[in-house]
């Protein structure tokens, strides 16, 4: 959460709202923010911490672990029309990569704005693909695997 907080200005520049959610109560969120998060990030995390009491919302998103009674790490990119464009779900011990989140948001926004497709590993400024009959069998001419890294 604090890694996302550090990159929050970049997400804000992209017009992205961040909502963080766990099965903890909003009261617990307050204490966590005051006792710990604010010591890791100046001012604490700048986005809302939501309470999914009983895991009911996590169940709707398929991320609720009923045995543990918690929501596992699930990250959803939702577009301005309310459509899920991407999701990433991890078991608890492994954290996420906020740089990959930023990359995906930039890619989805680029696709939404241009209608182009962004190939593997795309970063802003790298070549894109314009899918169509002319491209079939010709991707090798316009895109090299080096572009993915």
């Amino acid at each position: 959460m604090t890694a996302v907080a550090v990159k929050y200005p970049e997400l804000q520049k992209l017009g992205v709202a961040v909502l963080a959610m766990s099965t903890d109560s909003h009261f617990t969120h307050k204490v966590w923010q005051e006792q710990e998060l604010s010591k890791m990030v100046d001012g604490g995390v700048p986005f809302p911490l939501l309470s999914d009491s009983g895991g009911r919302i996590g169940r709707a998103y398929g991320v609720y672990d009923a045995e543990a009674g918690v929501d596992v790490r699930g990250r959803f990119i939702i577009d301005p029309e309310g459509i899920v464009q991407a999701m990433e779900v991890l078991t608890p011990p492994v954290g996420r990569n906020v740089m990959e989140l930023l990359r995906q948001v930039q890619a989805f926004q680029h696709v939404a704005a241009t209608g182009e497709a962004t190939p593997s590993g795309w970063q802003p400024g790298r070549p894109t693909l314009s899918p169509g009959p002319d491209l079939v069998g010709k991707v090798w001419e316009v895109w090299k695997t080096d572009n993915a890294f």
């Binding site: 992209l14 017009g15 992205v16 709202a17 961040v18 909502l19 963080a20 959610m21 766990s22 099965t23 903890d24 109560s25 909003h26 009261f27 617990t28 969120h29 307050k30 204490v31 966590w32 923010q33 986005f47 809302p48 911490l49 939501l50 309470s51 999914d52 009491s53 009983g54 009911r56 919302i57 996590g58 169940r59 709707a60 998103y61 398929g62 991320v63 918690v70 929501d71 596992v72 790490r73 699930g74 990250r75 959803f76 990119i77 939702i78 577009d79 301005p80 029309e81 309310g82 459509i83 899920v84 464009q85 991407a86 999701m87 608890p92 954290g95 996420r96 948001v105 989805f108 926004q109």
Partner: protein
């Protein structure tokens, strides 16, 4: 976004199920809750209302109030955990 208010918030609704689906599940009581679970890319994100801590105060937040904006929704296992 409405301004955060101090004090406790009223209980949040949790998942907001469209009326039609609710009616269907009443007609078919045998249909398990689990069958509707999970989301798919390219499909609408389930709406919800949740109580939140934001800007030093408490308030209820719905997903639908963010319509028109890109949203990153992050679930995590719990406060005071280590990753």
């Amino acid at each position: 976004m409405p301004e955060a208010k101090d004090g406790c918030v009223s209980p949040a609704k949790g998942p907001i199920v469209p009326e039609r689906e609710q009616a269907e599940s009443q007609v078919e009581p045998s249909r398990g809750e689990e069958e509707n679970m999970g989301v798919q890319v390219g499909k609408p994100a389930p709406d919800f209302e949740a109580s939140a801590f934001v800007d030093g105060g408490f308030k209820n937040i719905t997903l639908s109030e963010y319509r028109g904006q890109w949203v990153v929704l992050c679930f995590y296992p719990g406060d005071f955990t280590f990753v």
